[in-house]
Subunit: 224 residues, 2 copies
């Protein structure tokens, strides 16, 4: 982590301006223990470093972009700060982001038909993915398969391997964007924003690709 | 379209049972002109065919899965029934589904910074996609790029070609699932459900792929 800036340091006003958060909000995060105290320079003055700024950017991403509650943000921030592995912090972050998505509010796989879970397990096996068995992401996949089965969309499920192939490329690219980060805080922030903000980008690009392939595959059927 | 079943036909009760809609709802669709009247067999009896059932399944998908308002459903259904091309019906359907997603509620590209549009244009050009220039999908892509630029997520935008490559595979697979349908109604229903219900499936698969690639790319950084 860069510590050069901590020699001189930032006043609270500059920290607020650079993080895009109000002084009141930053003081709240300090009281709640989400942000480490600054270095005291007098009785009522402290200076903050680039490390503080990065932490605030991470908290802001978790709060405003991912919409996580404070208790969850605390867990993620403590995991990033603690001596746990980056992989553990990543897993916790993903679980928090997926868990808050609503679609998997109650993560009871017990209620899910065995068939949907079998389909997801087979996809994971076929791709050779090493996954967390009961994670919110896994539950979300089972739920999605159930939703398709309910609507008798067999054609989508028949092509699930093609979707998994494309998903593999997306997940790999996500990780490439994340590992380029210089610090843990930036890496976790990248994981959150990458997932949350990349989602609408990918979906919009898929729709544009649909337009193209519709033109190619359907134009000969124009007036059937 | 199959017309064999119309020889005998279904009573209203059977149509309700097979479509999963109440008799009251079906009568409402009949009054609103979304569903063609059945064949009269007596003063107060009519029979319905498989064609009616397919139309009801399409309306149900547009209403309950895509959450579209009745006026939009009318436009889509009339486009499917009219002598317009399948491609036109598809484009109208996609616009309706994307437009209702909320993220592109006001589709003014005027407010969008030129830079974001340039990035999207470059992706479309690089992939050789034939797209609708001002479509809701295009606006959604520009908005997504803006959102990433606002958060200074340059790393995601640097990999946008990789995401576009994966999106192309997804869009092509979507079309494959759609063109397998036997009738226009089923094709448009497939386009709606394929997009709306395939979305959470793809995103969940991406998360599982993230878990796998995180393990591969981050495990050596465990305690840095």
């Amino acid at each position: 982590m860069t510590t050069e800036a901590s020699e001189t340091g930032m006043r609270m006003a500059e920290l607020a301006a650079r993080s895009g958060l109000s002084v009141a909000t930053i003081k709240y995060y300090l009281r709640e223990g989400l942000l480490e105290p600054g270095r005291r320079t007098s009785v009522n003055q402290a200076v903050y470093s680039e490390v503080h700024l990065e932490r605030l950017r991470l908290i802001r991403a978790l709060a405003t972009i991912a919409g996580l509650p404070l208790s969850t943000i605390r867990d993620v921030v403590h995991s990033v700060a603690a001596d746990s592995s980056v992989l553990e912090a990543m897993a916790l972050t993903q679980d928090a982001v997926v868990g808050s998505a609503g679609s998997v509010a109650e993560s009871d796989t017990d209620g899910a038909p065995r068939e949907a879970a079998t389909i997801v397990d087979e996809v994971i096996r076929a791709r050779g993915w090493q996954c967390e068995p009961g994670s919110p992401a896994y539950v979300a996949a089972v739920r999605a398969v159930e939703g398709l089965a309910d609507e008798q969309l067999a054609s989508v499920l028949e092509h699930i391997d093609d979707y998994a192939h494309a998903a593999d490329a997306v997940g790999r690219t996500d990780l490439h964007t994340i590992v380029e980060a210089q610090t843990r805080d930036e890496m976790i922030r990248g994981a959150v924003l990458g997932t949350v903000l990349r989602r609408p980008l990918l979906e919009a690009l898929v729709l544009l690709a649909q337009q193209h392939h519709a033109r190619e595959m359907l134009s000969d059927r124009s007036h059937e």
